[in-house]
């Protein structure tokens, strides 16, 4: 168990700078997820923490101790790789015991720890098998078992679920979360999948182009995204964004988009005439209402529990999600009711949130 802190971390590959001075802290026992599109530098950051990549600038500290010049084997961290990286010539048991054997741990202690980890992960029946004889999910669990037996200060996960099929991914997601709740080991988890980030994290670091866009608890990011990037990255289906201009008149406020569509503005954000990006999540839109925005239905996608509608409002295509099963058909003219309190407004130029 340990805290981790990144201070002003930079990374260059040759002359290309891929990480631009990142600083944040991970608390003891926290499940921190680094999320972002591919190439954002999240894996590089994790590999620098692991000691597999040189740190070009800044410091990384584990438990207050700077580890920049400490070899990865002496950092007391364990990593689960995307490709599992199991030793193919060793049995499951030997794979898990390998790190302890290298540390010349007592054979009895080793056997005990391996048995314990196998029990936690339901791998008991497979200890004598070779990795090639296991399914993808089982291999993933062996990779986790290899990390568990070491009882490290920090667990690192590098996109551990992206090689699994959709159903197994959901199951393993829950398994990793349950494991963290049980072991309470500080965990850094890298993924490009925002659903994984939302469901597993205590806190999320959203990264983009080697910079941090926002750090916060999952629902905090969802409810109050700091900028346009986070707003569009977090949430599925993604937030609807409409470009427009703030208009204030007669005590009312709205954002006027192309085609003269008026989107209601519930708060005092933005000055009259300011160019903004107007954001509203699909579930904060509903059908009907007197102050509704006129729109036309393009596609209806029922999923059982909810119905997703793609509509055309002015020049913008808008997605809305309803819990009911509205009786509508493509081509129907409808009105879009917006909950003005749930609207996000971002500066068109900088993308920064305009506070209410």
């Amino acid at each position: 168990m340990a805290s981790v802190s990144f201070h002003d971390i930079e990374k260059n590959f040759g002359t290309t700078k891929v990480i631009h001075g990142i600083s944040f802290d991970i608390k003891d026992g926290e499940f921190m997820v680094l999320v972002g599109p591919s190439g954002c530098g999240k894996s590089t950051l994790l590999r620098m923490l692991a000691g597999l990549e040189e740190i070009s600038g800044g410091t990384i500290a584990i438990d207050g101790k700077v580890v920049n010049d400490i070899e990865s084997k002496d950092r007391d961290i364990a990593m689960v790789f995307q490709s599992y990286a199991l030793y193919p010539h060793m049995t499951v048991g030997d794979n898990m015991a390998f790190s302890l054997k290298l540390r010349k741990a007592d054979a009895k202690v080793t056997a005990e720890r391996v048995a314990n980890a196998a029990k936690i992960l339901n791998l008991d029946p497979y200890l004598a098998r070779f990795p090639r004889e296991l399914s993808g999910g089982q291999r993933q669990r062996v990779a986790m078992g290899r990390a568990i037996v070491r009882d490290p200060k920090v667990f690192l996960f590098d996109e551990p679920l992206s090689n699994l099929d959709a159903k197994l991914r959901v199951a393993m997601r829950a398994e990793i979360k349950a494991l963290h709740q049980r072991l309470k080991t500080t965990t850094v988890y890298v993924t490009h999948d925002q659903v994984e980030a939302m469901t597993m994290a205590d806190r999320i670091v959203v990264m983009h182009d080697g910079r941090i866009e926002q750090i916060g608890e999952p629902l905090e990011l969802y409810d109050r995204p700091d900028n346009l990037f986070v707003a569009q990255f977090i949430g599925s289906p993604a937030m609807n964004i409409v470009s427009g201009t703030v208009r204030r008149a007669n005590g009312g406020a709205w954002v006027e988009a192309a085609g003269g569509v008026r989107w209601p503005l519930g708060h005092t954000a933005g000055a009259d005439g300011q160019a903004v990006a107007y954001g509203v999540r699909p579930e904060h839109l509903s059908l009907g209402g007197s102050s509704a925005v006129p729109a036309e239905i393009i596609v209806v996608e029922p999923t059982g529990a909810e119905t997703e509608l793609l509509v055309q409002a002015g020049e913008a295509q808008i997605v809305l999600v309803t819990h009911g099963r509205p009786v509508v058909n493509p081509g129907d003219k409808i009105g879009l009711a917006v909950d003005p309190a749930m609207v996000h407004v971002f500066d068109q130029k900088t993308g920064a949130r305009i506070a209410a």
């Binding site: 990865s72 364990a78 990593m79 790789f81 199991l86 030793y87 990795p131 090639r132 004889e133």
Partner: protein, 283 residues
């Protein structure tokens, strides 16, 4: 079961049309060799498909060293074996260390070494025979079996490094990273992870170097001259020094000489097939 289509049949027929002549081309000389070795001296050149009086007398002469040319048969066979095995092991050692350093530890200048290794193949081994003879003379190694061993390792190493480097590159690099994080030093990584996974390639390269040395004639002939030092291949060549060479004995020794490589190949056949790395990473 599905009936073969016309296309399948024609493909098969074409393959057989090539395969059968090639098989005969390979097997007829071997059969000829065998025929000589079981024929009495008088009828060795009778030109029959099977001798009238097949005999094992030739083997008795060879194994009993009962001929002038065969007075050191067992010693020379042992020389061949010793030199071939030493060359195999030394080449493996040199090439494995080089491949590991270049491919896994990514030492600086690795690319240059690979290019140099490839470059040596522009020069035929025969061109180097005289310089090699001179060099060994300078070191006072002439007529010493180490001269032949070192020369053969020199010839076998570049190709071996090249092949092993290619094979190493195919091992997933995450395995090294996982082992490093598990606490392995480079030597432990080499011994506990790299060597076991490279085993099929190592056996293949070891066999290659061993057989190269076993079959070598030119360098063995140049560098060794004493009857007690030479390999069996040189001894075989010496048979032809006389006007009436004992062909049936020459062929018998030849047949015996051809057996160990065949046995080695058969024994290590299963290693030559890959598949050990299955299950390491998701591909």
């Amino acid at each position: 079961m599905k009936l073969p289509t016309l296309k399948d049949v024609t493909t098969e027929a074409k393959l057989l049309l090539i395969g059968i002549p090639v098989l005969l081309w390979t097997l007829i000389p071997v059969y000829h060799l065998f025929l000589f070795s079981i024929s009495p001296k008088e009828s060795a050149f009778a030109g029959k498909l099977w001798p009238d009086h097949p005999t094992l007398h030739n083997f008795e002469v060879v194994f009993g060293q009962k001929h002038y040319y065969l007075s050191h048969f067992w010693l020379q066979l042992w020389n061949s074996l010793l030199i071939a095995v030493t060359v195999g092991l030394l080449t493996l050692f040199v090439a494995t260390c080089a491949a590991f350093a270049i491919s896994r530890l990514k030492v600086k200048g690795g690319r240059t070494i690979m290019n140099l290794a490839l470059f040596t193949y522009f020069i035929p081994a025969a061109f180097l025979a005289v310089p090699m003879y001179k060099t060994m003379g300078n070191y006072g190694l002439l007529n010493n079996q180490w001269a032949l061993i070192l020369a053969m390792v020199t010839i076998a190493a570049p190709y071996s490094i090249w092949v092993l480097k290619q094979a190493s590159d195919k091992l997933p690099y995450e395995l090294d990273e996982a082992a490093r994080m598990d606490g392995a030093t480079p030597l432990q990584l080499f011994r506990l992870v790299y060597l076991p996974l490279m085993m099929p390639s190592l056996v293949a390269i070891g066999t290659y170097a061993l057989l190269l040395a076993w079959n070598e004639y030119l360098y063995a002939f140049l560098l060794l001259s004493n009857d007690r030092q030479i390999t069996l291949s040189v001894a075989l060549g010496n048979f032809l020094a006389a006007d009436d060479s004992p062909w049936e004995l020459l062929m018998t020794v030849g047949l015996i000489y051809a057996l160990p490589p065949a046995a080695i190949y058969y024994a290590f056949k299963r290693y030559m097939v890959g598949g050990l790395t299955a299950g390491a990473v998701k591909s």
